[in-house]
Symmetry: D2
Subunit: 198 residues, 4 copies
């Protein structure tokens, strides 16, 4: 949620301010439209920023693993889940790339944490996707659908590890903007590309 | 709903195009975000444009009444209701300025038309609010609340008639963006300012 | 936001549970639809409950004023504004029945509190609308428009004071469901009925 | 969008009527809440019905292929895309189970039709997913997230062909309710389960 209010003029609201500035430049009169505008909608800039945030967080967990071991990686992963996923909203529809069988869907925070950093006996097949030495990410959205405080994206994500090996995944995200203006992942479906028989 | 698609690059989508251009100017890379973005949300620019549209329509009905009589005014008012109100969505919550008693709320198109141009035996007290020779309008929004495809505004509207007399009303609107990107009034509460006893 | 989750089966969620029970009765298989459903939408039952809550709160302030004087009434009114209005979301579009002139719109909490209980030098004309000895309320909705987490209502509200005098107002509300499932008033336009010249 | 209006009492609105009946049974006074309620939100019942519709449509295309050949299957598939997908809204984020490479994402109707029935030189690898003799479908939702007129689901779908072979896919859907009350798929990510190396 972004708020523009005269008495809040000095408060930080970078994305909103940029957009307002852009609109001002276009119209010359945006400031007169209303002294107070509250807008709960997601913008393209929000979505791009959230995707970047996800990529940076994945790399951060990998780096923290390298520098501080599992406990540091686990703390970072937990913080990422709390800040950028919607488990606090009741459920996240999360199908991680390598999850399978009875544990394909990680609708709880515990299931997501196990997937990212492993070390959980309840999820014995999880080896920690975020611990694989990721160094670089790139997004190639095929489409974006913005609907109120929810945005859906679909496309390829390219992840590069420390050996320079690139993993491509087919990725779908749903982001919901919470009351503080933070985008949270409420939907995440990741899968390895289909390999046709040769 | 606004759509940005490469194959639609030549189609007209003025508001969206301006915003995209503004974002491009800000970021330099908006075009790479996704080849296709659909956005169903209302923007501030949409709301401002819809308010302007309402003011212009009111004056148009007055002018058509002056130049072409009641039948021309009625045709224009009907067209305005069909294009800019949400009666096609099932209901409009409409409390017009001078409506009262059992006919205070005009939740149907017939009730709204009667209010604007009168001439309907079912609404005997209606004399046609839009026929009062309006020449000028001005908006002073106190606040705007944007929530998905719905935007709420509240503030003063100043209407000037051909004698130069200014009528101030307290005005609340709810606009919903339809599937074609058109904003429709689904809520309209207008009232004369409270006059305290002296 | 309502959440249905097996591990939360014993938690209190009265409205949701009733609805789920009703759906179960209809279909016989609702429980199998999904182990976890999160639903952020407003329901008719939510809206009715919020309207009732507003009526009860108004009477409570009046009663607290009678039993505990202005300070008690003010405390209750503040609690009502914090629990049931959306000032925490950045703005409320509030046009109270008797507000007028430069202070017609009470987009801040301070302005709303002054309107309900007076005693604020910034708002010298406010005598405290909630202190008028209200005993009974009744709603007669003309229409309801539900759109996501936002619901709009319009209709008559009849308030009866301790002398048995009934005041009728034309009332428009916008309710937004917050992340905790609480409906908050983000729009409120109240006006005395128009009195045609005789 | 569902509409309840006294003068429309005889019009067909089955899902809404059931819900209204259920609420009536619960409260005894739902009818008095408002003479007119418009509700644009998706319900759980809507989502279940849309999932069932997708399953039935897939089987119908297979059956029409068996009985009437490719042209009949293609006509049915086209009708399904027009009725139940959101290509008319500007884009569908569609990652079909077996699509890959440069043609992984089928954001256009042509790409979706090719995937379901093949026979399109632009998509040389498509052999027609809907032509595989499907006889039965089953859904097992892991979670559902309902947000305004948009609902997200994630879970397993089990498809059985005429030889009795069962194919399991990991499936994510996004449904948007259009202005006529029809749910349309705006997001669809389907993938084969991950097979861990042994």
């Amino acid at each position: 949620m972004s708020i523009r209010h005269p008495v809040l003029a000095s408060s930080p609201a970078p994305r909103r301010t940029l957009l307002a500035a852009a609109l001002l430049a276009l119209s010359g009169t945006a400031a007169a439209f209303s002294p107070t505008v509250v807008n709960t909608n997601i913008t393209e800039a929000d979505v791009r920023s959230a995707q970047e945030g996800w990529g940076k967080a994945l790399i951060q967990i990998s780096e923290d693993h390298a520098s501080g071991g599992l406990s540091k990686a686990k703390a970072t992963a937990g913080a990422v889940l709390d800040a950028a996923y919607g488990y606090n909203m009741g459920v996240v529809l999360f199908k991680p790339t390598l999850a399978h069988g009875q544990q394909t869907f990680r609708t709880t925070r515990a299931g997501a944490l196990a997937y990212f950093v492993g070390d959980d006996k309840t999820y014995p097949d999880d080896t920690g996707f975020a611990l694989k030495g990721w160094k670089k990410y790139e997004f190639k959205n095929a489409g974006v659908f913005i609907n109120g405080d929810l945005a859906l994206t679909q496309g390829h994500v390219m992840l590069t590890d420390k050996q320079g090996k690139v993993t491509v995944v087919d990725k779908t995200w749903g982001f919901k903007k919470d009351e503080k203006g933070q985008l949270r992942i409420v939907l995440h479906h990741s899968s390895l590309p289909y390999q046709p028989a040769k």
